[in-house]
Symmetry: C2
Subunit: 226 residues, 2 copies
């Protein structure tokens, strides 16, 4: 029997590539997504499509009301998504989001007996989010091993962030080699309900630049005026 | 203006004491509770009563479906709550619960600009939960300072666990000195909807022993047959 892994999937380009990497490494894949009050539901639809296409054992969508704490353009509709680059940590940063998502993944990993959690964070094209840095991931792993039954019983749990040092172009090349169909994924921070991208937000800009860098055609559906 | 603190409140004895400690230290108190699929709602009612009685600035209840991952007698109704002491980590342990709750508290702290998070964990009468140990709290604090904007910008955030080395009796004595009304609190793992305790579960046993140790009358309402 192969080992189990929990993979955080948002429906975007990075996490879909991570899922393909975990599957190729032979893990039984359990995918986890969050209905956290994000602006668009199309990323959840994409997470479901991507999980199905990669034959995961189980895909869970956990409801969690991060709108209740607000503080981000992604969870507070009164804060606009910026359509050009900004200095510092951008307003699309959702306070402690990766920590919250990894924590719930940790709980599920403990219940099913998985000792790997895969996450698509990336320190190169990372939009300036503090919780996408390698030192953060290492620190979460150390904490996770003290937090759980596994840690007490000596089964090491590791957080795998295989994209952490890759550029968006390298991620896309790796994914294409693994057969990822990027037309199924949605990265846009303000995609329409059927997954059409704005072409203007940070996430769209990084993604488009990635396809350009990788030298492959961008399969993203953009709005006509983008 | 005084500093802000987020305090995790469950409606139980420990977290109510922690709230009284934070208030006495002069913090503007923001309390946070979770509707996470626990067996009884009476602990949430207690969290509301306790927050109101201590004049907090705001009390938030976040919905989060931990039943979806299961794995504990507190979130899975097919697992019985034990009515006598068990060896090792008990089945009432909710996988990664403190990590999940602290992570969401971290997000809220970041949004409101609080640099303290208070939590009622206790390493003495801790029921054997891995996420109640001092090394776990220290590790979470280290991770939290890498996870957030505050960490990047050099504002240290600390996790305060003032009860960590206290016995249940000492906690009760400290709370009584601060005016905590323990008749408002609910600790039982399987309390009735109006907050009457079973008198048999781990949590009831530790609580009753605490009042005995403190040499004060136990104000808990128990079922007639307890």
């Amino acid at each position: 029997m192969s080992d189990k892994a929990v993979i955080l999937v948002s429906g975007g380009l990075d996490s879909s590539t991570v899922l393909a990497i975990a599957a190729r490494q032979g893990y039984e894949c359990y995918t986890l997504s969050f209905d956290y009050g994000q602006r668009h539901r199309s990323e959840l639809d994409a997470a479901i499509r991507v999980s199905e296409s990669m034959s995961v054992v189980e895909h869970k969508v956990i409801k969690l009301d991060l709108q209740a704490i607000g503080g981000s353009a992604l969870t507070d509709t009164t804060i606009a998504v910026p359509e050009r680059e900004t200095a510092g940590i951008p307003v699309t940063y959702v306070p402690a989001r990766n920590t919250v998502f990894l924590s719930i993944a940790l709980g599920w990993a403990e219940v099913i007996g998985a000792n790997k959690i895969f996450v698509g964070v990336n320190a190169v094209d990372y939009s300036g989010y503090p919780d996408c840095r390698p030192e953060y991931i290492a620190s979460f792993e150390a904490m996770a091993n003290l937090a759980t039954r596994a840690g007490v019983e000596g089964n090491h749990l590791s957080i795998e962030a295989p994209l952490i040092d890759m550029t968006k172009g390298q991620i896309i090349q790796a994914g294409l080699e693994l057969g990822v169909d990027y037309s199924q994924t949605v990265s846009c921070y303000q995609a329409s309900s059927d997954g059409v991208a704005c072409g203007k937000c940070d996430s769209c800009r990084l993604r488009a630049q990635g396809f350009f860098e990788a030298g492959v055609k961008d399969p993203t559906r953009y709005q006509n005026n983008a």
